[in-house]
């Protein structure tokens, strides 16, 4: 099972992405759709981390010079993920805030009923 060993993170990441997308597509409830967004985000973040992951690598921190040429994971994706998480959180917070307002207006969170803006 070398394939799974090598690519397990990718499979997991894309699995999460697909689950997220599926949730957004299929679920009528806005909150569930937002949860789908969160899952999608997580999947993407996991994917980014996997890009830079090195099996058995250490943290990319040069604190002790004697550690020498030990394999390290790529630090850049981690930085990216940090940013992405922050952004994701902002989006989620905004989405949930909007959901509350939307519920006040419509009395429902069913996305298929909230179609006043169309055509």
């Amino acid at each position: 099972m070398t394939f799974l060993e090598n690519y397990v993170f990718y499979v997991g990441a894309f699995g999460l992405v697909l689950i997220g997308l599926f949730t957004i597509l299929v679920k009528r409830n806005l909150i569930k759709a937002i949860v789908g967004l969160a899952i999608l985000d997580t999947g993407v973040n996991l994917f980014l981390i996997s890009v830079g992951y090195l099996a058995r690598g250490t943290a990319p921190i040069y604190t002790r010079a004697e550690q020498g040429a030990q394999p390290m994971v790529d630090p850049v994706p981690q930085a990216l993920v940090l940013t992405a998480i922050v952004i994701g959180v902002a989006v989620l917070a905004l989405a949930l805030a909007l959901a509350i307002r939307l519920y006040r207006h419509y009395g429902t969170l069913d996305l298929r009923k909230i179609t006043e803006q169309r055509w």
Partner: protein, 494 residues
């Protein structure tokens, strides 16, 4: 020596200054946005001569290019950042009077953030940084769409948010794949390493990035959010969204396609052809949807889709004429559409209705505003002597110069779109001037503060229409920069 970083830092700083200052006084918030935007215009103009010679490349943190985040202020970047600042300035002046209700300090803060994001997108040379600025732009626009807090606004914002979030996830995946392939995020670096854009491993990230950016740039099947968001937002926000946000998205697509993936007319890939077809499809769908609209702002929103399609088509032709024409169209659309939304803002404010038929007879009650609307509409249709004419002329000319049947057919579609566009805009003009309507509307002009930006837009539209040389020089070098990948790489990497 002016640094392009200032273009981003100063508005960002002022944006966060607003909530603090508004602790002192509620009224002060609305006067703050013009300050950094004025500053940005000045800086852009100061940078312009240098940028025209050679793009100004700044690395943040003093790292070597390729390892650090860098800003590339070439002619395109400066042109667009100047436009962003300029349109932003005019809209912020307009908003001084227009935005009265709700938490005005937050509005102004979000507004500045949005413009910061837009400026960042056009200046950055790092693809992840592009994503970050895009998110700044998007999140603030979600919030701004919902600003009024009414039913339509909230609904549109939610839908916009969901689609936008999906889009940016796709963009991020694409960026991740690119990083995985090339180990770098610097656009020039990636471009240098990337050889064949058609090989499958490269195509997948390209497809992801284009789909992701396409959501923001209102490409045809990806633009479900646009008519809702643009029509439900407060008018100044609509003006910015239609005038700046989607253009920035389109710029990002062009930058990615031309610079990173190196597609050009003489490359073996005919993906550009696909984009051209998609552009015309977008154009036709937008114009056709706009034709039957009764809601004026929704009509304008669909018209924006159409215009985006035209610009996309022009950019996808990838000849220097075509790209110059596309950028010209971008400029003229920005001016005209911003003008239209600003005028419509006060018209609908007076009539308390977004229905086109409710605007009947407003030409008599608000003559200057109506005149401005008419000029904006004529410019969008592409009638001389307004700014839309030379830009459309350049695009048609470029399409005919390709001497390819496909482009002849496509430009035929574009011209058909123009006819439809003429049909609905002329109908509105008739309603404004030649229909007797509601006499209850107060015979009241737009307040002077709001009139200033409107008049400036009108002057610019007429001025550029009569004397296009005013900006064609800049546009030509911008087009050259956008198309010349080798020079871009050399300039950035030294």
């Amino acid at each position: 020596m002016v640094n392009p970083v200032l273009l981003i830092v100063v508005p960002l700083g002022f944006a966060f200054l607003i909530p603090i200052l508004s602790l002192l006084s509620k009224k002060i918030a609305k006067y703050i946005p013009p300050i950094p935007l004025c500053f940005n215009i000045v800086v852009s103009l100061l940078l312009l001569p240098r940028a025209l010679e050679n793009p100004v490349v700044v690395s943040i943190g003093g790292w070597q290019p390729g390892f650090s985040i860098n800003l590339v202020a070439g002619p395109v970047g400066i042109l667009l950042s100047a436009i962003v600042a300029f349109v932003g300035l005019l809209v912020s002046i307009y908003a001084v009077d227009y935005i009265r209700e709700g938490a005005t300090d937050r509005y102004h803060m979000l507004f500045l953030l949005l413009l910061t994001g837009a400026t960042g997108v056009v200046l950055t040379g790092d693809i992840f940084n592009l994503f970050v600025f895009f998110e700044i732009l998007c999140i603030s626009s979600y919030a701004l769409v919902a600003y009024a807090g009414d039913k339509a606004g909230i609904e549109s914002a939610v839908k916009y948010l969901i689609q936008g979030a999906v889009g940016s996830s796709l963009l991020l995946i694409g960026i991740g794949l690119l990083y995985g392939l090339f180990g770098t995020l610097n656009m020039a670096d990636i471009a240098k390493a990337l050889q064949s854009p058609t090989s499958l491993p490269v195509f997948v990230p390209m497809a992801l990035i284009i789909s992701g950016l396409g959501v923001e740039a209102a490409m045809f099947p990806l633009n479900g959010w646009l008519p809702d968001a643009h029509s439900s937002a407060p008018s100044p926000v609509s003006a910015i969204l239609s005038g700046i946000a989607i253009e920035v998205g389109l710029y990002a697509i062009a930058r990615v396609v031309f610079t990173i993936f190196g597609l050009s007319i003489d490359s073996t890939s005919n993906f550009l052809m696909f984009l051209a077809v998609l552009g015309i499809l977008t154009l036709l769908v937008g114009e056709m949807c706009a034709l039957g609209q009764n809601n004026i702002k929704r009509m304008l929103a669909y018209s924006s889709i159409g215009q985006m399609g035209l610009i996309l088509f022009a950019l996808a032709m990838a000849s220097s004429y075509a790209v110059a024409g596309g950028l010209f169209q971008l400029v003229s659309h920005t001016l005209a559409k911003a003008l239209l939304f600003l005028t419509v803002g006060y018209m609908t404010y007076r009539t308390h209705s977004l229905d086109i038929s409710a605007l009947a007879g407003i030409g008599k009650r608000m003559p200057i505003t109506s005149l401005a609307f008419t000029i904006g509409a004529f410019s969008l249709i592409g009638l001389p002597p307004f700014a839309g004419f030379p830009s459309k002329l350049l695009i048609v000319r470029a399409a005919l110069a390709t001497k390819e049947c496909l482009f002849f057919v496509l430009i035929g579609g574009a011209l058909l779109g123009t006819v439809i566009e003429a049909a609905y805009f002329f109908r509105v003009v008739q309603v404004l001037y030649f229909k007797d309507g509601n006499t209850n509307i107060a015979r009241k002009q737009v307040p002077a503060v709001a009139l200033i930006p409107i008049v400036i837009f009108v002057i610019l539209i007429v001025g550029i229409g009569i004397y296009p040389k005013f900006i064609t020089g800049l546009l030509n070098s911008a087009a050259a920069e956008l198309l010349n990948r080798v020079d871009y790489i050399r300039n950035v990497l030294g």
